[in-house]
């Protein structure tokens, strides 16, 4: 049996005709309904409901799933909030940090109000001759050794 032939054979089968008396009945009832709908002005809420129904109809399961996801997000968000003890601790820490910042700021302000004397620029020294360092090294007095210094200190203490 060729599938195409079979399909063609099925296509030839005609359906029962729609009963003739249905036409005036259906159209009359539809017109009455239409007139009634036109006479009663729909409230904005009714229109909103119809619009929502039209909008949500194609995939009610998808919208329900989305709503469930949102509820889950809200619940998780609520459960992730810190406890009262944690909040109090965080607030105390924040207050401490603020106080510390204020103290540092006050200290800085004090330093700015009373600035330290600017270091004097070094006096201009006469240009050194290149042989001077060597000469200075030659004429320099020998410094006391650390042992001598210690001895001096201990002598003073004993005195």
């Amino acid at each position: 049996m060729n599938p195409d032939e079979f399909e063609q054979r099925l296509r030839k089968e005609a359906f029962r005709p729609i009963p003739d008396e249905w036409r005036p009945e259906l159209l009359r009832e539809a017109r009455l309904e239409g007139a009634a709908a036109a006479s009663r002005a729909p409230s904005p809420f009714h229109r909103l409901g119809e619009w929502l129904c039209d909008w949500l109809w194609p995939a009610p399961a998808a919208w329900a799933a989305l709503a469930v996801c949102w509820v889950a997000v809200v619940i998780l968000n609520r459960s992730a909030l810190p406890s009262a003890v944690e909040m109090a601790e965080a607030q105390a820490n924040a207050r401490l940090a603020l106080a510390y910042q204020a103290a540092v700021r006050g200290f800085n302000a004090l330093q700015l109000d009373d600035p330290a004397p600017a270091p004097k620029p070094p006096e201009a020294s006469p240009p050194r001759r290149p042989e001077e360092p060597n000469q200075a090294r030659m004429h320099r007095q020998p410094t006391s050794s650390p042992y001598e210094c210690l001895e001096t200190v201990s002598t003073r203490q004993m005195a």
Binding site: M1, F6, E13, R16, W22, E29, A35, A37
Partner: protein
């Protein structure tokens, strides 16, 4: 509210196809009438031109299918059993003059009634409305592959059931 002529035009252009589709789904003339009644009531309240419809036939078939889904949800199990029992008494196809054709029609009616409604809807739209699978998938709100597979399964069942008779008639 649409002009009376709009509703009449819709009825004259599409009522026969909608009747056949709805009767195929419900297998009950009373339910088909209720379905069409509800459909034209809605069309009277909200005309097609307000719905921004490109393909009126596809839109109306989709509307009929949605109303049938609502009807099935509303009906209790008891009513569904009643409808199932009434299936045999509600032929969908027109009677034929030729005895062979009449026998085939009766068998086709019975074979069609045995198909699940989802497969029946796809086979109906494909064979008698000559819709593409893409259009069927949009109308019935199902994936394209589902529409194609439902058609194949449905047609295979019909072929298996009608094979002996069809071979005899040929």
């Amino acid at each position: 509210m649409p002009a009376a002529s709009d509703l009449e035009r819709i009825y004259d252009d599409h009522a026969q196809a909608l009747f056949a589709f709805a009767l195929d789904l419900t297998r009950s003339e009373a339910d088909t009438r209720d379905l069409l009644q509800e459909m034209f009531r809605r069309l009277a309240v909200r005309p097609l031109r307000d719905a921004n419809v490109r393909d009126a036939r596809a839109f109306l078939l989709r509307m009929a299918h949605n109303l049938w889904v609502d009807q099935v949800r509303r009906h209790s199990t008891r009513e569904r059993v009643r409808n199932t029992l009434a299936t045999a008494a509600e032929p969908v196809f027109a009677p034929a003059d030729d005895p062979d054709s009449e026998t085939f029609r009766r068998e086709l009616d019975a074979a069609f009634a045995e198909l699940p409604p989802e497969q029946r809807a796809v086979v109906h739209l494909k064979l008698w409305e000559e819709m593409t699978f893409e259009s069927i998938s949009r109308t019935l709100d199902i994936p394209l592959n589902t529409a194609a597979s439902r058609y194949r399964y449905g047609l295979d069942k019909l072929r298996a059931r009608l094979r002996p008779l069809y071979a005899e008639i040929q």
